[in-house]
């Protein structure tokens, strides 16, 4: 047993740290905060230029062929630093699907641009009436010669306003069982008929509704078989899209520890000597360590040639539920000061706990709700029977 990520990972982590200290400027942070957009083109392209966008990809595609632990080490740093990474995550997930299921033409068209940081791809799965039950998607695609005509609506198309393509789940056959009539397309977003409507969330992050009215896409941008969209989705989801590596917790706890070291309570005692403060910090630190370890286990399995399944659900479930608990607890710990908002000049540690509390609300839903993860763990992990 060895809990080190290894020398190569450590070295690559240092490279990521160096990149971040140079490129994750106050301006980049402030732009994220003020716009709610967790994507920054300059940062994104610079990341690609430094070999930090897709380091795990083979060299033939522009990657560096780094192993899963190296990739994890750099991902941990990007998350801990609070860098804008949403665009990278969705783009690489779709790129992976194309690499495994796409045509040679598609690979030639998309992969170089995606991996060089020139384009980003966003996800169009969720619909107003189809969230956890993603296979219930109703957005229609109807064949018209070499093209398909798309009509429908997607929810939470985060970064659509920045993106070049949306990876769209559509219904091509409404006559068959819901899983059997789906097809996926790579739809160019910058075309007539696509409407992007911003949606602001409680954490200030921006996402979008996207509407598709007689939008046309060439059949050459169909990913996978006609009516084979569910298989494509299944493959896509195995590329651990966004297992949180604990970075949000790391940043939060660090800020709270600094507060404890620097402040005193009503009677002048350092917070760092208050047993209650210490117990809260310690519990959060324990959960943070577990979050990190559950994510590292996934990377290690991947590194060992095993696709993490239930382990990914555990990592995602624990990370998001734990972040929610911690954030709430820290807001409470700060007393009345806990409600001073992120961005208010009087907030403690720039209001990170307050922001985190609002931000955490999304983490237990995005990318598969906690309920869905628990179903997976119960049924696939523990072998419990499905509800009848």
């Amino acid at each position: 047993m060895d809990f080190r990520l290894g020398e190569r990972s450590d070295a690559f982590r240092v490279k990521a740290k160096q990149f971040l200290s140079g490129h994750l400027t106050d301006e980049v942070r402030e732009q994220m905060r003020s716009t709610g957009v967790h994507h920054n083109w300059d940062f994104h392209r610079a990341r690609a230029a430094h070999g930090l966008l897709a380091p795990g990809w083979p060299e033939e595609f522009g990657g560096e062929g780094r192993d899963a632990l190296e990739v994890l080490a750099s991902a941990e740093e990007f998350q801990s630093a609070g860098a804008p990474t949403y665009g990278v995550g969705t783009t690489l997930m779709v790129a992976n699907v194309i690499r495994h299921l796409g045509t040679e033409d598609q690979k030639r068209l998309i992969l170089p641009q995606a991996l060089s940081g020139d384009i980003i791809i966003v996800l169009g799965f969720t619909e107003p009436e189809a969230g956890s039950d993603v296979a219930a998607a109703q957005t229609r695609a109807v064949r018209d010669g070499d093209e398909w005509v798309i009509n429908g609506q997607k929810m939470f198309t985060t970064n659509a306003q920045e993106a070049d393509y949306v990876f769209l789940l559509t219904r091509t056959n409404p006559e068959v069982a819901k899983h059997k009539g789906l097809t996926t397309f790579l739809v160019p977003l910058r075309q007539a008929g696509v409407e992007i409507q911003p949606v602001i969330t409680v954490s200030g992050e921006r996402t979008n509704l996207t509407f598709y009215s007689d939008v046309r896409v060439d059949d050459s941008l169909r990913i996978g078989e006609i009516d084979g969209g569910w298989h494509v989705m299944t493959v896509g989801l195995t590329f651990e899209r966004s297992i949180p590596q604990g970075g949000d917790s790391v940043r939060l706890i660090h800020a709270m520890e600094q507060w404890a070291l620097a402040s005193v309570d009503d009677v002048g005692r350092p917070r760092s000597e208050d047993p209650d403060v210490l117990a809260r910090l310690g519990r959060a630190a324990a959960e943070c360590e577990v979050t990190i370890l559950l994510a590292r286990r996934c990377a290690w399995l991947h590194h060992s040639g095993i696709l993490p399944g239930v382990e990914g659900s555990m990592a995602k479930l624990f990370a998001s539920e734990s972040l929610t608990r911690q954030s709430a607890d820290f807001v409470d710990m700060l007393g009345p000061d806990g409600i001073r908002s992120e961005g208010d000049a009087t907030a403690i540690a720039e209001g990170i706990a307050e922001y985190s509390y609002r931000y955490a609300l999304g983490t237990t839903t995005y990318g598969g709700t906690s309920e869905i993860q628990r179903n997976i763990i119960a049924q696939r992990g523990l072998g419990l029977p499905r509800p009848s």
Binding site: D133, I200, T365
Partner: protein, 342 residues
């Protein structure tokens, strides 16, 4: 024992329920962000006598009981009223209790000149009153400096602190315009009583927040379908809401009991004020969180109402402190008075 409101109490509830339905639909709440103060609503509340009722008849008010005010506070919470009603009521009652010329004059201005008075829930530190509820829109603030109960005209209108609950809170510097209302033991007693009253009213406001958030959540999970069935039929959803419903019912009982006890069982009044506020704060937060979470992605869209409730359930009571602080205060009172239960 009678858990039903009396006819008069029911009339009060109906009056304020209708008032908030008309004057404070949720769009108005949203429009009042981020300041959390709707001057029009405040004016209508004054017209309705929401402040006057809080003050004893001898001091020029209508002499409502704390229980009456609690029933109003519940409606205020249900509608997330963007106005510093609770703080102003509590502060006005302090002025009425203090008596004497200075207080009477201040109270008179509040009742007749529409000056907004509020109260700082914690003594000043470094000559600053932190996070005074209503402080960003108030004209006068009452505070306790450890020995004296003071009243100060807020000359330099407090700087609005941006906060989770979109409340008009401010940090207020103390200046030389502060006037002493009363000192010594009486000052402390009045301040502690005011804090108890604030907690009672806040507890009832939180009952309103919690109850309404639960309704929103229940309605949503009945309508929303996934996998071919309403999501409310899943045990993971149904059991969460059942727990929340139980806590909300419990919070309503203890919050009303606390308000009742202020007039009818004074030996337990402090204890129940603290315990009910802590319990109701946690119950409301839990109900809001579950309702929000069961909304899926819609839950954290600003466009949906549930996030408005969630943020206020956290922030409104927090200006006093986290629930464990309330519980500790309640327990200390129990130990000090050696009062038993029920």
């Amino acid at each position: 024992m009678d858990l039903n409101p009396s006819d008069e109490q029911q009339q009060l509830i109906d009056t304020f329920s209708a008032f908030y339905a008309k004057e404070c639909p949720v769009d108005r709440v949203r429009a009042a962000e981020p300041s959390g103060h709707d001057a029009e609503l405040w004016a209508r509340l004054l017209e309705l006598g929401a402040l006057q009722m809080a003050v004893d008849e001898a001091a020029g008010g209508w002499g409502a009981s704390l229980l009456d005010l609690a029933l109003v506070a519940e409606q205020h919470g249900r509608s997330l009223g963007p106005a510093p009603l609770i703080e102003a009521q509590v502060a006005a009652r302090v002025l009425a209790r203090v008596g004497g010329d200075v207080a009477a004059e201040a109270l008179g201005r509040v009742l007749t000149e529409d000056r907004i008075v509020t109260i700082a829930l914690h003594p000043p530190k470094n000559a600053n009153l932190a996070l005074v509820p209503g402080g960003a829109v108030a004209d006068d603030v009452i505070y306790f400096d450890g020995g004296r109960l003071m009243c100060m005209a807020i000359s330099d209108r407090g700087h609005l602190i941006s906060n989770t609950g979109s409340m008009p809170v401010a940090d207020i510097d103390i200046d030389s315009s502060s006037i002493m209302l009363v000192s010594g033991h009486q000052a402390e007693t009045l301040f502690e009583l005011a804090r108890d009253e604030w907690m009672v009213l806040m507890a009832n406001a939180l009952v309103g927040i919690g109850a309404r958030s639960l309704e929103i959540g229940v309605d949503y999970v009945k309508e929303r379908h996934a996998f071919g069935v309403p999501i409310g039929s899943f045990q993971s959803v149904a059991h969460g809401l059942a727990n929340a419903a139980t806590s909300i019912d419990g919070s309503m009982l203890i919050a009303r009991e606390a308000a009742w006890a202020a007039g009818e069982d004074t030996a337990r009044a402090t204890q129940l004020a603290c315990l009910s506020c802590g319990f109701s704060a946690e119950a409301a937060r839990d109900a809001c969180y579950r309702s929000l979470h069961f909304h899926g992605g819609y839950g954290f869209m600003l466009e949906f109402d549930i996030q408005l409730y969630f943020r206020r359930a956290i922030a409104w009571p927090a200006v006093f402190g986290e629930p464990p602080k309330m519980f500790a205060r309640g327990a200390a009172d129990r130990l000090a008075t050696a009062r038993a239960y029920g």
